[in-house]
């Protein structure tokens, strides 16, 4: 079966059951919009779906192989952007992305890097240490990974945080293109997606005491 399917996931944090027996399915072309109040376990769920944390129970299967098994090549097909930007403040945008690309075995030329940063409206800021950029600009640098690595599945935790209106619409258009090309996206957000993001499904997580 292609796509990502999670079955019977249970997550327990500090004696609190965040969710129990949670199952979801994402197929090619799907945009899954995960909603829920603060503390409902959205981030915990996303981290389990990427394989960063282990669920208490249950399994996550991508293209028929469990992502927790050792011979899964899941990471090649995944881009995860957490709410931490994964940018070192002492390095410039270009350096950060260059090292990240090397780690993820993405071969890109420096010229392409500049092009992508140009698309994101960061002209002239490529060589500036990231700590001197504003929160929104840092978020744009972090998001540029979506342009750099060709991956089927994007798992995004609050990608719209600190973005201005223009940035939000840029990202929503990118979502629509990715899904139209058969990609999959799982995202959380506290602001509703606009029609520009294309068709999407919502999944509501409830806050359990």
């Amino acid at each position: 079966m292609s796509g990502l399917s999670a079955s019977q996931l249970t997550c327990i944090k500090r004696d609190r059951v965040l969710f129990k027996a949670l199952s979801l399915q994402v197929s090619k072309g799907d945009l899954l919009y995960l909603r829920g109040p603060n503390g409902a376990g959205k981030t915990s769920l996303l981290r389990i779906l990427t394989g960063l944390s282990l669920p208490e129970e249950g399994d996550v299967v991508f293209d028929g192989v469990s992502i927790f098994s050792s011979h899964s090549n899941y990471t090649e097909k995944l881009v995860y952007l957490g709410h931490k930007s994964a940018l070192n403040p002492a390095l410039s945008a270009v350096e950060n992305l260059h090292f990240w690309a090397a780690q993820h075995r993405v071969s890109i030329k420096t010229a392409n890097l500049y092009e992508v940063l140009d698309t994101l409206g960061l002209v002239g800021l490529e060589e500036v240490p990231v700590k001197f950029l504003s929160a929104g600009q840092q978020r744009r640098v972090a998001l540029s990974r979506l342009w750099l690595k060709t991956a089927e599945l994007w798992v995004l935790d609050e990608p719209f945080t600190a973005l201005d209106v223009e940035g939000v619409s840029l990202l929503e258009k990118l979502f629509a293109n990715h899904c139209a090309a058969g990609g999959m996206i799982i995202t959380t957000s506290h602001q509703a997606l606009s029609s520009m993001a294309g068709k999407y499904r919502t999944y509501d997580l409830e806050y359990n005491l």
Partner: protein, 222 residues
């Protein structure tokens, strides 16, 4: 290969030279602490020679603890560690490369400074050679064992003191054999057996610490 070379080795070296203060502070601390002893206990060569090996080794352990946290702290807090874990690289090798870079930028300067420290404490040439050998074998051991504790405490706020409390007892055997080697050299006795024991500890750490560090980092992510 280029993933490890560019993505980890070059990245960490670039970062180390970008944050020079963090590199220099532990070294300055080491030199200052060692230079306090001739002032504090007096310049008599007999006394300094007796306490010398212990002083240098204690100072080396303490100063290495100061710089140890930067091994994973920044990567953990800014999320780079998550991205590394999702890069599909072998995490054991990533950790090994990271420790090697850390050793290069923190212990090699110490080795270069060691003749100066030996002069402060009136060490003889034989003693200095023994000291150099113990530092050469002992500093990678400190980096590797220390990295396990850093991996475990990286999620804890203000883990610095906890790190010291965890690690200082662990380094006691190293301290014993290292100082004993230099003492033997002072008496013109062979000290190969002490070096062999430190080398054995080092080999054990080389073999097992990457797995332990990887595991501790994964636990910290959970």
């Amino acid at each position: 290969m280029s993933a490890f070379y560019t993505g980890v080795f070059k990245r960490d070296l670039t970062l180390a030279f970008r944050q020079k203060a963090e590199l220099l502070q532990p070294l300055m601390f080491l030199v200052l602490v060692v230079s306090l002893f001739p002032i504090g206990v007096g310049p008599a060569p007999e006394i300094l020679q007796v306490i010398g090996p212990g002083v240098i080794w204690v100072a080396a352990i303490l100063s290495s603890l100061m710089g140890m946290e930067r091994l994973f702290r920044d990567d953990f807090h800014d999320g780079s560690l998550e991205q590394l874990m999702l890069s599909g690289m072998n995490l054991n090798l990533v950790v090994a490369v990271k420790i090697f870079v850390h050793w290069l930028v923190s212990a090699v300067p110490l080795l270069i400074l060691s003749p100066l420290l030996a002069m402060f404490l009136h060490m003889t040439f034989d003693m200095y050679i023994a000291l150099l050998m113990t530092l050469l074998l002992g500093t990678p051991l400190i980096s590797m064992v220390g990295a396990i504790a850093v991996g475990l405490t990286v999620g804890v706020n203000r883990g610095g003191v906890l790190l010291a409390l965890l690690l200082i007892p662990v380094f006691i055997p190293l301290l014993i054999f290292a100082t004993s080697a230099v003492d033997s050299a002072a008496l013109q006795l062979p000290y190969l057996s002490q070096l062999a024991i430190i080398a054995a500890m080092l080999l054990l750490a080389v073999a097992f610490s990457p797995f332990a560090i990887t595991y501790s980092l994964k636990v910290s992510q959970n």
